[in-house]
Protein backbone atom coordinates (compact mmCIF):
# COMPACT_ATOMS: atom_id res chain seq x y z
CA UNK A 1 0.00 0.00 0.00
CA UNK A 2 1.31 3.41 -0.97
CA UNK A 3 1.33 5.97 1.80
CA UNK A 4 1.57 9.74 1.77
CA UNK A 5 1.49 12.60 4.22
CA UNK A 6 -1.58 14.66 3.41
CA UNK A 7 -1.88 18.42 3.72
CA UNK A 8 -5.58 19.25 3.22
CA UNK A 9 -5.31 23.05 3.40
CA UNK A 10 -7.86 25.47 4.82
CA UNK A 11 -10.48 25.22 2.05
CA UNK A 12 -10.91 21.49 2.48
CA UNK A 13 -11.96 21.88 6.08
CA UNK A 14 -15.33 23.34 5.17
CA UNK A 15 -15.73 25.11 1.84
CA UNK A 16 -14.43 22.11 -0.08
CA UNK A 17 -15.20 19.34 2.38
CA UNK A 18 -16.58 17.23 -0.46
CA UNK A 19 -13.13 17.30 -2.07
CA UNK A 20 -11.62 16.07 1.18
CA UNK A 21 -14.23 13.33 1.58
CA UNK A 22 -13.93 12.10 -1.98
CA UNK A 23 -10.12 12.24 -1.85
CA UNK A 24 -10.07 10.01 1.22
CA UNK A 25 -12.66 7.57 -0.13
CA UNK A 26 -11.13 7.15 -3.58
CA UNK A 27 -7.52 6.82 -2.47
CA UNK A 28 -8.51 4.24 0.11
CA UNK A 29 -10.35 2.25 -2.53
CA UNK A 30 -7.30 2.40 -4.78
CA UNK A 31 -4.86 1.26 -2.13
CA UNK A 32 -3.32 4.60 -1.23
CA UNK A 33 -3.22 5.82 2.34
CA UNK A 34 -3.31 9.55 3.10
CA UNK A 35 -2.23 10.52 6.61
CA UNK A 36 -3.33 14.03 7.53
CA UNK A 37 -0.45 16.14 8.87
CA UNK A 38 -0.57 16.82 12.56
CA UNK A 39 -1.35 20.46 13.42
CA UNK A 40 -0.75 21.84 9.95
CA UNK A 41 -1.06 25.58 9.29
CA UNK A 42 -2.30 27.66 6.37
CA UNK A 43 0.07 27.62 3.38
CA UNK A 44 -0.33 31.36 2.98
CA UNK A 45 -2.16 31.27 -0.33
CA UNK A 46 -0.48 33.84 -2.54
CA UNK A 47 -0.93 36.76 -0.21
CA UNK A 48 2.07 36.26 2.07
CA UNK A 49 4.34 36.70 -0.89
CA UNK A 50 3.12 40.25 -1.29
CA UNK A 51 4.10 41.12 2.23
CA UNK A 52 7.03 39.03 3.32
CA UNK A 53 8.34 36.10 1.30
CA UNK A 54 10.48 34.89 4.17
CA UNK A 55 7.31 34.52 6.22
CA UNK A 56 5.65 32.69 3.33
CA UNK A 57 8.53 30.20 3.12
CA UNK A 58 8.51 29.70 6.88
CA UNK A 59 4.82 28.85 7.01
CA UNK A 60 5.16 26.34 4.18
CA UNK A 61 8.35 24.96 5.69
CA UNK A 62 6.56 24.24 8.95
CA UNK A 63 4.18 21.92 7.10
CA UNK A 64 7.04 20.39 5.13
CA UNK A 65 8.96 19.77 8.35
CA UNK A 66 5.94 18.09 9.94
CA UNK A 67 5.65 15.91 6.82
CA UNK A 68 9.38 15.12 6.88
CA UNK A 69 9.03 13.75 10.40
CA UNK A 70 6.70 11.06 9.06
CA UNK A 71 9.21 10.02 6.43
CA UNK A 72 6.56 10.27 3.72
CA UNK A 73 6.20 12.48 0.68
CA UNK A 74 3.46 15.07 1.02
CA UNK A 75 0.33 15.48 -1.07
CA UNK A 76 -1.75 18.64 -1.41
CA UNK A 77 -5.19 18.66 -3.07
CA UNK A 78 -5.26 22.44 -3.59
CA UNK A 79 -3.26 23.87 -6.46
CA UNK A 80 -2.17 26.98 -4.57
CA UNK A 81 -1.03 24.99 -1.52
CA UNK A 82 0.79 22.60 -3.84
CA UNK A 83 2.58 25.36 -5.71
CA UNK A 84 3.61 27.11 -2.51
CA UNK A 85 4.90 23.94 -0.88
CA UNK A 86 6.65 22.71 -4.00
CA UNK A 87 8.55 25.93 -4.58
CA UNK A 88 9.32 26.50 -0.91
CA UNK A 89 10.97 23.08 -0.81
CA UNK A 90 12.86 23.89 -4.01
CA UNK A 91 14.05 27.31 -2.82
CA UNK A 92 15.15 26.01 0.57
CA UNK A 93 17.12 23.25 -1.08
CA UNK A 94 18.92 25.72 -3.32
CA UNK A 95 19.51 28.56 -0.87
CA UNK A 96 21.45 27.53 2.22
CA UNK A 97 21.15 30.89 3.94
CA UNK A 98 17.40 30.89 3.48
CA UNK A 99 17.13 27.33 4.80
CA UNK A 100 19.26 28.18 7.83
CA UNK A 101 17.13 31.22 8.65
CA UNK A 102 13.81 29.44 8.19
CA UNK A 103 15.01 26.52 10.29
CA UNK A 104 16.04 28.95 13.00
CA UNK A 105 12.38 30.03 13.14
CA UNK A 106 11.12 26.44 13.02
CA UNK A 107 13.15 25.69 16.18
CA UNK A 108 10.43 27.50 18.09
CA UNK A 109 8.11 24.62 17.22
CA UNK A 110 10.84 21.97 17.62
CA UNK A 111 10.88 21.35 13.90
CA UNK A 112 13.52 21.14 11.21
CA UNK A 113 13.25 20.80 7.45
CA UNK A 114 16.20 19.18 5.67
CA UNK A 115 14.70 19.14 2.20
CA UNK A 116 13.94 15.43 2.04
CA UNK A 117 10.26 15.66 1.18
CA UNK A 118 8.80 15.47 -2.28
CA UNK A 119 5.68 17.54 -2.83
CA UNK A 120 2.90 16.22 -5.03
CA UNK A 121 -0.51 17.40 -6.10
CA UNK A 122 -3.31 14.94 -5.41
CA UNK A 123 -4.01 14.54 -9.11
CA UNK A 124 -0.41 13.41 -9.62
CA UNK A 125 -1.04 10.58 -7.18
CA UNK A 126 -3.85 9.40 -9.45
CA UNK A 127 -2.02 10.11 -12.71
CA UNK A 128 1.39 8.75 -11.70
CA UNK A 129 1.38 6.66 -8.54
CA UNK A 130 -1.88 4.87 -9.27
CA UNK A 131 -1.94 5.41 -13.01
CA UNK A 132 -4.88 5.37 -15.46
CA UNK A 133 -4.55 1.64 -16.18
CA UNK A 134 -4.80 0.62 -12.55
CA UNK A 135 -7.67 3.06 -12.08
CA UNK A 136 -9.48 1.64 -15.10
CA UNK A 137 -9.20 -1.87 -13.73
CA UNK A 138 -11.03 -0.81 -10.55
CA UNK A 139 -13.94 0.95 -12.26
CA UNK A 140 -17.30 -0.71 -11.60
CA UNK A 141 -19.68 1.96 -12.89
CA UNK A 142 -18.05 3.53 -15.93
CA UNK A 143 -19.36 7.02 -16.65
CA UNK A 144 -20.11 6.12 -20.23
CA UNK A 145 -21.40 8.87 -22.43
CA UNK A 146 -20.64 11.63 -19.98
CA UNK A 147 -18.74 14.48 -21.57
CA UNK A 148 -16.35 15.86 -19.00
CA UNK A 149 -14.32 19.04 -19.41
CA UNK A 150 -10.98 18.62 -17.64
CA UNK A 151 -10.07 21.95 -16.10
CA UNK A 152 -6.38 22.17 -15.35
CA UNK A 153 -6.40 25.74 -14.08
CA UNK A 154 -3.07 27.35 -13.31
CA UNK A 155 -0.89 26.31 -10.50
CA UNK A 156 -0.84 22.54 -10.96
CA UNK A 157 1.09 22.99 -14.16
CA UNK A 158 2.47 26.50 -13.84
CA UNK A 159 5.12 27.62 -13.13
CA UNK A 160 7.03 24.83 -14.83
CA UNK A 161 8.74 22.49 -12.37
CA UNK A 162 11.08 20.58 -14.63
CA UNK A 163 10.66 19.88 -18.29
CA UNK A 164 7.03 18.81 -18.22
CA UNK A 165 4.55 19.89 -20.88
CA UNK A 166 2.99 23.15 -19.74
CA UNK A 167 1.09 23.86 -22.95
CA UNK A 168 -0.73 20.61 -23.77
CA UNK A 169 -0.71 18.22 -20.83
CA UNK A 170 -2.87 15.11 -21.16
CA UNK A 171 -2.90 13.49 -17.71
CA UNK A 172 -6.34 14.84 -16.78
CA UNK A 173 -7.87 13.56 -20.03
CA UNK A 174 -6.31 10.15 -19.40
CA UNK A 175 -7.93 9.91 -15.98
CA UNK A 176 -11.30 10.86 -17.45
CA UNK A 177 -10.96 8.23 -20.15
CA UNK A 178 -9.97 5.69 -17.50
CA UNK A 179 -13.33 6.08 -15.76
CA UNK A 180 -15.14 5.53 -19.03
CA UNK A 181 -16.19 9.12 -19.62
CA UNK A 182 -15.38 11.28 -22.63
CA UNK A 183 -12.83 14.04 -22.04
CA UNK A 184 -13.68 17.06 -24.13
CA UNK A 185 -11.13 19.33 -25.66
CA UNK A 186 -11.89 23.02 -25.23
CA UNK A 187 -9.62 25.99 -25.78
CA UNK A 188 -9.74 27.42 -22.26
CA UNK A 189 -8.83 24.32 -20.29
CA UNK A 190 -5.50 25.85 -19.28
CA UNK A 191 -6.73 29.42 -18.79
CA UNK A 192 -7.03 31.09 -15.41
CA UNK A 193 -10.48 31.13 -13.75
CA UNK A 194 -9.66 34.33 -11.89
CA UNK A 195 -10.09 32.70 -8.49
CA UNK A 196 -7.58 34.95 -6.79
CA UNK A 197 -9.30 38.05 -8.19
CA UNK A 198 -12.88 37.27 -7.22
CA UNK A 199 -12.65 39.52 -4.20
CA UNK A 200 -10.26 42.19 -5.34
CA UNK A 201 -11.16 42.59 -9.02
CA UNK A 202 -14.61 41.18 -9.27
CA UNK A 203 -15.59 42.24 -12.79
CA UNK A 204 -12.42 40.80 -14.23
CA UNK A 205 -12.88 37.53 -12.34
CA UNK A 206 -16.55 37.12 -13.30
CA UNK A 207 -15.63 37.71 -16.95
CA UNK A 208 -12.99 35.01 -16.71
CA UNK A 209 -15.51 32.62 -15.18
CA UNK A 210 -18.02 33.40 -17.92
CA UNK A 211 -15.48 32.80 -20.68
CA UNK A 212 -14.50 29.48 -19.20
CA UNK A 213 -18.06 28.27 -18.74
CA UNK A 214 -18.88 29.39 -22.28
CA UNK A 215 -15.91 27.53 -23.70
CA UNK A 216 -16.92 24.34 -21.88
CA UNK A 217 -20.59 24.66 -22.87
CA UNK A 218 -19.72 25.39 -26.50
CA UNK A 219 -17.98 22.06 -26.53
CA UNK A 220 -20.96 20.26 -25.01
CA UNK A 221 -19.48 19.59 -21.61
CA UNK A 222 -21.93 17.96 -19.20
CA UNK A 223 -19.70 18.67 -16.27
CA UNK A 224 -16.44 20.47 -15.54
CA UNK A 225 -13.90 18.53 -13.50
CA UNK A 226 -11.53 20.47 -11.27
CA UNK A 227 -8.57 19.59 -9.09
CA UNK A 228 -8.55 22.72 -6.96
CA UNK A 229 -10.97 24.09 -4.35
CA UNK A 230 -10.37 27.68 -5.47
CA UNK A 231 -11.31 26.87 -9.05
CA UNK A 232 -14.34 24.85 -7.95
CA UNK A 233 -15.77 27.61 -5.78
CA UNK A 234 -15.04 30.23 -8.36
CA UNK A 235 -16.57 28.33 -11.27
CA UNK A 236 -19.55 26.98 -9.39
CA UNK A 237 -20.57 29.27 -6.55
CA UNK A 238 -20.11 32.40 -8.68
CA UNK A 239 -22.06 30.96 -11.61
CA UNK A 240 -25.25 32.63 -10.37
CA UNK A 241 -23.48 35.95 -10.19
CA UNK A 242 -22.14 35.50 -13.70
CA UNK A 243 -25.69 34.87 -14.87
CA UNK A 244 -26.92 38.01 -13.11
CA UNK A 245 -24.03 40.08 -14.39
CA UNK A 246 -24.06 38.98 -18.02
CA UNK A 247 -27.65 37.80 -18.53
CA UNK A 248 -26.41 34.30 -19.27
CA UNK A 249 -28.10 31.09 -18.22
CA UNK A 250 -25.29 28.79 -17.18
CA UNK A 251 -26.07 25.72 -15.18
CA UNK A 252 -22.88 23.71 -15.44
CA UNK A 253 -21.99 21.29 -12.68
CA UNK A 254 -18.41 21.70 -11.47
CA UNK A 255 -17.13 18.67 -9.64
CA UNK A 256 -13.90 17.52 -8.11
CA UNK A 257 -12.15 14.90 -10.18
CA UNK A 258 -12.13 12.69 -7.08
CA UNK A 259 -15.94 12.83 -6.93
CA UNK A 260 -16.19 11.65 -10.52
CA UNK A 261 -13.62 8.92 -9.95
CA UNK A 262 -15.50 7.93 -6.79
CA UNK A 263 -18.75 7.54 -8.73
CA UNK A 264 -17.04 5.31 -11.26
CA UNK A 265 -15.61 3.22 -8.42
CA UNK A 266 -19.10 2.71 -7.10
CA UNK A 267 -18.67 4.73 -3.93
CA UNK A 268 -22.03 6.05 -2.66
CA UNK A 269 -22.72 9.73 -3.47
CA UNK A 270 -23.06 10.69 0.15
CA UNK A 271 -19.55 9.53 0.93
CA UNK A 272 -18.27 11.70 -1.90
CA UNK A 273 -19.88 14.82 -0.52
CA UNK A 274 -22.32 15.00 -3.42
CA UNK A 275 -25.26 17.19 -2.45
CA UNK A 276 -23.23 20.16 -1.25
CA UNK A 277 -22.97 21.74 -4.66
CA UNK A 278 -24.83 24.73 -6.07
CA UNK A 279 -25.35 23.23 -9.49
CA UNK A 280 -26.31 19.59 -9.24
CA UNK A 281 -25.03 17.20 -11.85
CA UNK A 282 -28.02 17.26 -14.16
CA UNK A 283 -27.87 17.79 -17.90
CA UNK A 284 -26.86 14.16 -18.37
CA UNK A 285 -28.60 11.16 -19.87
CA UNK A 286 -31.45 10.06 -17.66
CA UNK A 287 -30.23 6.49 -17.48
CA UNK A 288 -26.97 7.48 -15.90
CA UNK A 289 -28.63 9.79 -13.47
CA UNK A 290 -30.93 7.06 -12.32
CA UNK A 291 -28.05 4.66 -12.08
CA UNK A 292 -26.21 7.11 -9.82
CA UNK A 293 -29.28 8.08 -7.87
CA UNK A 294 -28.61 11.71 -8.64
CA UNK A 295 -31.33 14.28 -8.18
CA UNK A 296 -33.01 15.52 -11.33
CA UNK A 297 -32.51 19.15 -12.03
CA UNK A 298 -35.55 21.15 -11.10
CA UNK A 299 -36.11 24.57 -12.53
Amino acid sequence: MKEFAYFPGCSLEKMASSYHMSAMETTQKLGVKLNELDDWNCCGATTYFYIDELLAYTLCARNLAIAEKTGLDVVAPCSACYKNMFFTAAHLKKDEDLAEHVNFALEEDNLHFSGNVKVKHLIEVFAQDIGPDELKSKVTKPLEGIRIAPYYGCQIIRPQKEKEDVEQPQFFEELISAIGATPINYPLKMRCCGGSLIISSRTAALTMVRNLLQSAVDNQAAVIATACPMCQVNLEVYQQQVNLEFGTNFSVPVMYFTQLIGMALGIPNKKLGIGKEFVAMAPTPLAVETAWGLPRKTK
Binding site: S11, G44, Y50, L55, E107, P159, M208
Partner: protein
Protein backbone atom coordinates in the same frame (compact mmCIF):
# COMPACT_ATOMS: atom_id res chain seq x y z
CA UNK B 1 30.28 50.77 -5.19
CA UNK B 2 27.87 52.89 -7.17
CA UNK B 3 26.56 56.13 -5.78
CA UNK B 4 22.93 55.35 -6.42
CA UNK B 5 20.77 52.86 -8.27
CA UNK B 6 18.17 53.03 -10.98
CA UNK B 7 14.51 52.21 -10.40
CA UNK B 8 15.05 49.05 -12.44
CA UNK B 9 17.80 47.93 -10.08
CA UNK B 10 15.65 48.81 -7.09
CA UNK B 11 12.90 46.52 -8.38
CA UNK B 12 15.35 43.76 -9.36
CA UNK B 13 16.63 43.80 -5.78
CA UNK B 14 13.17 42.70 -4.63
CA UNK B 15 13.19 39.57 -6.75
CA UNK B 16 13.88 36.20 -5.27
CA UNK B 17 17.58 35.75 -5.74
CA UNK B 18 18.46 39.43 -6.16
CA UNK B 19 20.89 38.52 -8.88
CA UNK B 20 21.45 40.77 -11.86
CA UNK B 21 18.69 42.61 -13.63
CA UNK B 22 16.42 40.15 -15.45
CA UNK B 23 14.06 42.90 -16.57
CA UNK B 24 16.84 44.37 -18.70
CA UNK B 25 16.75 41.31 -20.92
CA UNK B 26 13.14 42.04 -21.92
CA UNK B 27 12.83 42.33 -25.70
CA UNK B 28 9.33 43.89 -25.53
CA UNK B 29 7.86 41.12 -27.65
CA UNK B 30 4.49 41.41 -25.89
CA UNK B 31 3.97 37.67 -25.40
CA UNK B 32 3.15 38.35 -21.74
CA UNK B 33 0.46 40.92 -22.56
CA UNK B 34 -0.97 38.73 -25.30
CA UNK B 35 -1.14 35.78 -22.91
CA UNK B 36 -2.39 37.60 -19.82
CA UNK B 37 -6.09 36.89 -19.17
CA UNK B 38 -6.48 40.17 -17.27
CA UNK B 39 -4.45 42.51 -19.47
CA UNK B 40 -7.65 44.20 -20.64
CA UNK B 41 -8.35 45.43 -17.11
CA UNK B 42 -4.88 46.72 -16.40
CA UNK B 43 -4.05 50.35 -17.00
CA UNK B 44 -0.63 49.25 -18.19
CA UNK B 45 -0.10 45.81 -19.71
CA UNK B 46 2.67 43.60 -18.31
CA UNK B 47 4.89 44.50 -21.27
CA UNK B 48 4.32 48.19 -20.63
CA UNK B 49 5.07 47.84 -16.92
CA UNK B 50 8.43 46.27 -17.70
CA UNK B 51 9.17 49.05 -20.18
CA UNK B 52 8.21 51.70 -17.62
CA UNK B 53 10.45 50.10 -14.99
CA UNK B 54 13.35 49.95 -17.41
CA UNK B 55 12.79 53.62 -18.24
CA UNK B 56 12.83 54.52 -14.55
CA UNK B 57 9.23 55.77 -14.45
CA UNK B 58 8.73 55.10 -10.76
CA UNK B 59 5.67 57.27 -10.21
CA UNK B 60 3.84 55.90 -13.21
CA UNK B 61 4.52 52.34 -12.07
CA UNK B 62 3.35 53.03 -8.52
CA UNK B 63 0.17 54.63 -9.80
CA UNK B 64 -0.63 51.67 -12.00
CA UNK B 65 -3.19 49.03 -11.02
CA UNK B 66 -1.41 46.39 -13.11
CA UNK B 67 0.15 44.29 -10.38
CA UNK B 68 -3.02 44.23 -8.27
CA UNK B 69 -4.87 42.77 -11.24
CA UNK B 70 -2.35 39.96 -11.69
CA UNK B 71 -4.18 36.68 -11.01
CA UNK B 72 -0.97 34.71 -10.31
CA UNK B 73 -1.74 32.32 -13.17
CA UNK B 74 1.89 32.24 -14.38
CA UNK B 75 0.81 32.02 -18.00
CA UNK B 76 3.11 34.88 -18.98
CA UNK B 77 5.95 33.36 -17.01
CA UNK B 78 5.93 30.00 -18.78
CA UNK B 79 5.81 31.71 -22.16
CA UNK B 80 8.36 34.50 -21.75
CA UNK B 81 11.12 33.81 -24.30
CA UNK B 82 13.62 35.56 -22.01
CA UNK B 83 12.54 33.48 -19.03
CA UNK B 84 11.64 36.50 -16.93
CA UNK B 85 9.50 35.46 -13.98
CA UNK B 86 6.88 38.13 -14.61
CA UNK B 87 4.49 36.80 -11.96
CA UNK B 88 7.21 37.12 -9.36
CA UNK B 89 7.80 40.65 -10.58
CA UNK B 90 4.12 41.40 -9.93
CA UNK B 91 4.47 40.02 -6.38
CA UNK B 92 7.54 42.19 -5.91
CA UNK B 93 5.65 45.28 -7.06
CA UNK B 94 2.78 44.52 -4.69
CA UNK B 95 5.28 44.18 -1.87
CA UNK B 96 7.02 47.39 -2.90
CA UNK B 97 3.78 49.34 -2.93
CA UNK B 98 2.61 47.89 0.41
CA UNK B 99 5.93 48.60 2.11
CA UNK B 100 5.88 52.13 0.77
CA UNK B 101 2.23 52.54 1.61
CA UNK B 102 1.84 53.77 -1.90
CA UNK B 103 -0.78 51.60 -3.53
CA UNK B 104 -3.43 53.18 -5.67
CA UNK B 105 -6.50 54.26 -3.75
CA UNK B 106 -9.72 52.28 -3.91
CA UNK B 107 -8.08 48.91 -4.51
CA UNK B 108 -9.40 46.00 -2.48
CA UNK B 109 -6.33 43.85 -3.12
CA UNK B 110 -3.92 45.42 -0.62
CA UNK B 111 -6.44 45.62 2.25
CA UNK B 112 -7.53 42.07 1.60
CA UNK B 113 -3.93 40.79 1.57
CA UNK B 114 -3.16 42.61 4.79
CA UNK B 115 -6.27 41.21 6.49
CA UNK B 116 -5.43 37.71 5.29
CA UNK B 117 -1.89 37.68 6.59
CA UNK B 118 -3.00 39.22 9.86
CA UNK B 119 -5.54 36.45 10.29
CA UNK B 120 -3.00 33.68 9.69
CA UNK B 121 -0.42 35.26 11.97
CA UNK B 122 -3.03 35.24 14.75
CA UNK B 123 -4.63 31.81 14.32
CA UNK B 124 -2.61 29.74 11.88
CA UNK B 125 -5.53 28.93 9.60
CA UNK B 126 -7.93 30.73 7.31
CA UNK B 127 -11.45 31.67 8.43
CA UNK B 128 -13.62 33.07 5.65
CA UNK B 129 -16.24 35.04 7.67
CA UNK B 130 -13.65 37.31 9.31
CA UNK B 131 -11.89 37.78 6.04
CA UNK B 132 -15.11 38.90 4.39
CA UNK B 133 -15.33 41.98 6.60
CA UNK B 134 -12.12 43.28 5.02
CA UNK B 135 -13.74 43.72 1.63
CA UNK B 136 -17.50 43.34 1.76
CA UNK B 137 -18.04 46.99 2.67
CA UNK B 138 -16.10 48.17 -0.35
CA UNK B 139 -18.61 46.46 -2.63
CA UNK B 140 -21.49 48.32 -4.22
CA UNK B 141 -25.03 47.37 -3.18
CA UNK B 142 -25.59 44.86 -5.96
CA UNK B 143 -22.27 43.12 -5.35
CA UNK B 144 -22.90 43.19 -1.62
CA UNK B 145 -26.29 41.51 -1.97
CA UNK B 146 -24.90 38.92 -4.38
CA UNK B 147 -22.03 38.13 -2.02
CA UNK B 148 -24.37 37.74 0.95
CA UNK B 149 -26.65 35.48 -1.09
CA UNK B 150 -23.71 33.32 -2.09
CA UNK B 151 -22.50 33.14 1.50
CA UNK B 152 -25.95 32.23 2.79
CA UNK B 153 -26.24 29.39 0.34
CA UNK B 154 -22.77 28.15 1.25
CA UNK B 155 -23.78 28.25 4.88
CA UNK B 156 -26.97 26.30 4.19
CA UNK B 157 -24.98 23.67 2.37
CA UNK B 158 -22.64 23.36 5.30
CA UNK B 159 -19.73 24.85 3.40
CA UNK B 160 -18.92 27.81 5.65
CA UNK B 161 -17.24 27.41 9.04
CA UNK B 162 -18.98 29.00 11.99
CA UNK B 163 -15.99 28.93 14.27
CA UNK B 164 -12.43 29.81 13.36
CA UNK B 165 -10.07 26.85 13.10
CA UNK B 166 -6.91 27.31 15.13
CA UNK B 167 -3.80 25.28 15.23
CA UNK B 168 -2.89 23.52 18.47
CA UNK B 169 0.65 24.73 18.98
CA UNK B 170 -0.31 28.35 18.46
CA UNK B 171 2.17 29.78 20.98
CA UNK B 172 5.09 28.07 19.24
CA UNK B 173 3.68 29.19 15.93
CA UNK B 174 3.56 32.83 16.99
CA UNK B 175 7.07 32.72 18.39
CA UNK B 176 8.20 31.16 15.12
CA UNK B 177 6.74 34.11 13.23
CA UNK B 178 8.43 36.45 15.71
CA UNK B 179 11.79 35.13 14.55
CA UNK B 180 11.00 36.05 10.96
CA UNK B 181 9.20 39.33 11.55
CA UNK B 182 10.84 40.91 14.57
CA UNK B 183 7.75 42.71 15.73
CA UNK B 184 4.87 42.35 18.10
CA UNK B 185 4.52 42.16 21.85
CA UNK B 186 5.65 38.66 22.65
CA UNK B 187 6.19 37.97 26.35
Amino acid sequence: MTDTITFGQEISNLLHAAEGEPLKTCIQCGTCSGTCPVAGYMDNSPRQIIALINLGKKEQVLESNTFWYCASCYHCTVRCPQEINITELMYALKRYSIWKNRYKEGLIGPTFSEAFVKMIVRGGRSFEPVLATSYIFSFNTREFVQEIQGATELLLKGRLPLLPARIKRLENFRRMIGRIIPMGGLE
